[in-house]
């Protein structure tokens, strides 16, 4: 796991005045499932295209297995890409599509035939060799695009929002399928998506990006439970981001009330951002709550109820499986380890990053 397969060093890229990436540094370990996550225009696809060789960075280096491949054209890189809109060759059969890369490498007929059979079995489309591309559904086409890429036995597979065009149910099935494929093949995956749920489900490591900067790198649990700034907290799942004052270690003041927390070392009486996930707020009897409020709205979401509670001058978003009717007085209680403290943004730049998203 320890080896760096890809190392991006000081990558910058701009189109005219429009800066896409600014001094980006990132490495991908061997056999890792790494996801670049962010809103559209955050630079995630450009990063992927730079690794694939379809864009050249204005400055910086792309190191692949210890070698600088920044200047190498895409056809000479030992990696393959699965594109968002499949990009299959429509005038060829499925078998010809899959054989495309192998024919260029002058593999023997028998080898190509075996490989096609193996790849189709792997993506659960056995017997599709002679079908035409147009006769396949979107999900099937995407599987063929994956098969076409993996028969070349790349060390690294780049996936550019491959499930973006599929419907929800199919997308969820394909997520399991991709995880299975990755485990069976032992290939490193770099996956680009704007869908936070997809990222949380599949990744070993998530890189949250915004406006050309990396906001946070970490495991799905880290990113979700301990977002480093308000952007990450807001982008990954729903959350209450509240202005607070860090009174002293393990005590934070929110809306004029002191809450117990587990964080230390932010400095006494320092303004901070406090993140509380909606599912971490417990609605209790008004007498037992740290603060009390009134339920303003109630939505049934299937798994849980979504409620807005007005308390101490702000709205709190609450997810709970227990129903509290609109107008009811409730107490709000949060366990200390469910309170996540973040430093206030230091520069105006960081502030802008956050504000633009809201």
């Amino acid at each position: 796991m320890a080896n760096k397969l890809v190392d991006l060093q000081n990558i910058s890229k701009a189109y005219g005045d429009n800066v896409i990436l600014d001094d980006l540094n990132l490495y991908i370990k061997e056999n890792e499932f790494l996801t670049l996550l962010g809103p559209s225009g955050c630079g995630k696809t450009t990063t992927l295209r730079i690794i694939g060789g379809f864009e050249t960075p204005d400055s910086g280096k792309v190191i692949f297995e210890g070698k600088d491949i920044s200047k190498l054209p895409p056809n000479e890189r030992q990696l393959n890409t699965v594109f968002q809109k499949y990009a299959l060759f429509t005038h060829m059969t499925i078998a010809e599509n899959i054989a495309f890369g192998l024919k260029i490498k002058n593999k023997s007929r028998q080898y190509i035939k075996d490989k096609i059979e193996y790849a189709l079995k792997l993506v659960n489309l056995k017997g599709f060799e002679n079908r035409s591309v147009d006769s396949l559904s979107g999900g099937q086409q995407q599987r063929i695009a994956i098969a076409r890429a993996i028969v070349n036995e790349p060390k690294l597979l780049l996936l550019d929002e491959p499930l973006g065009a599929l419907d929800l149910k199919l997308r969820q099935d394909m997520q399991y399928e991709l995880i299975r494929l990755k485990n069976e093949l032992g290939i490193t995956f770099i996956y680009v998506t704007h869908d936070q749920e997809e990222a949380l489900t599949m990744s070993d490591t998530i890189v949250v990006m915004n406006q050309g900067y990396i906001q946070q790198i970490g495991s799905p649990e880290d990113i979700y439970n301990e977002p480093q700034n308000a952007f990450v907290a807001d982008f990954i799942g729903e959350s209450n981001i509240i202005d607070g004052i860090f009174v002293q270690d393990e005590v934070v003041e929110i809306c004029g009330k002191k809450f117990a927390c587990v964080d230390k070392g932010f400095g006494n009486n320092t303004p901070v951002d406090v993140v509380i996930r909606p599912e971490d707020i417990d609605l209790v009897d008004p007498k037992e709550g740290t603060i009390t409020g009134i339920v303003k709205s109630l939505l049934f979401k299937g798994v849980h109820y979504e409620m807005e509670v007005e308390a101490n001058g702000r709205d709190w978003l609450v997810h709970s499986t227990d129903l509290s009717p609109v107008g009811a007085m409730v107490g709000i209680k949060v366990d200390p380890y469910d309170i996540q403290i973040m430093k206030k943004p230091e520069s105006e730049d960081e502030e802008a990053v956050v504000n633009d998203e809201q």
Partner: protein, 264 residues
């Protein structure tokens, strides 16, 4: 019932209006009598005469050669131009498309005269000795054919997913291999219909050819024009009938090809 009948009648009248002139021509080409007012029995003698007329055969040869060469060269230039334009940004592409469309809308006589003037002008300024003749007619035909090629190739190029070419490179193809194996097959139907369109356009052009040709070089259309001035011979009916039949065949071929494609 009445509605159905009136529909039939309308269609018949329409078709008569459209095809009566050509039908007359075809019938007269088989008329043994030289008179246009009298049916003298069925004959093929005008066709025989036509094919023993060396001037006409020469003109036919020139016409086909120019049509083929100009269509071929226009297809190559037009396809390359389309590829370049396709990779441009939206604004310059739209501008260039407009510029290439203008020659198609331009009156033939304006195109013809301006091309003639250009050839003479080039001779004067660069002291070259390009004589009006085969070369100038060919150049003129290439010029007015290119927009038709672009018009039929461009939509095919726009249809291609922009990742398709990248996918080929990604799988190890060199840029040239990717073009021949992936892009060319996808746009080939467009190239073929562009070629056939250019071929027919060149085949039936009179005005531009008339202004850019020189002594000794006649295409069928200029040949017919010259003969007509001497008085119309039934041979001309035969020749015109043959030209009509050729274009008709070409058209049927193109339409069937695209119909078959659509079925797939």
């Amino acid at each position: 019932m009445v509605r159905k009948l009136s529909r039939r009648v309308y269609l018949t009248v329409m078709l008569i209006f459209l095809y009566a002139p050509i039908l007359t021509l075809v019938v007269l080409s088989f008329n043994a009598s030289k008179s246009r007012a009298k049916w003298g029995g069925f004959t093929l003698k005008w066709y025989k005469q036509l094919f023993s007329n060396e001037e006409t055969l020469n003109a036919l040869y020139t016409t086909l050669l120019i049509a083929f060469l100009s269509a071929l060269i226009a297809v190559i230039l037009g396809t390359l131009a389309s590829i370049a334009m396709n990779s441009m940004k939206k604004k310059p592409r739209a501008l260039l498309m407009a510029i290439t469309n203008i020659p198609m809308l331009n009156a033939d006589i304006v195109t013809g005269i301006s091309l003639m003037l250009l050839f003479i002008f080039v001779n004067v300024v660069f002291r070259t000795r390009i004589r009006l003749g085969f070369t100038t007619v060919l150049l003129a035909h290439i010029t007015f054919n290119i927009p038709y090629v672009i018009l039929s190739v461009m939509p095919k190029l726009r249809q291609i997913n922009k990742n398709t070419y990248e996918a080929a490179l990604d799988l190890g193809a060199s840029p040239i291999y990717a073009f021949y194996k992936v892009i060319l097959p996808e746009i080939f139907p467009g190239i073929l219909s562009g070629f056939l369109l250019a071929f027919t356009m060149s085949l039936d052009d009179f005005t531009i050819t008339y202004f850019t040709t020189g002594p000794g070089i006649e295409t069928l259309s200029t040949q017919i024009y010259t003969e007509v001035r001497k008085g119309i011979q039934p041979e001309i009916y035969a020749l015109s009938t043959l030209m009509f039949a050729a274009v008709l065949l070409l058209l049927v071929f193109v339409n069937r090809k695209s119909a078959v494609k659509e079925k797939e």
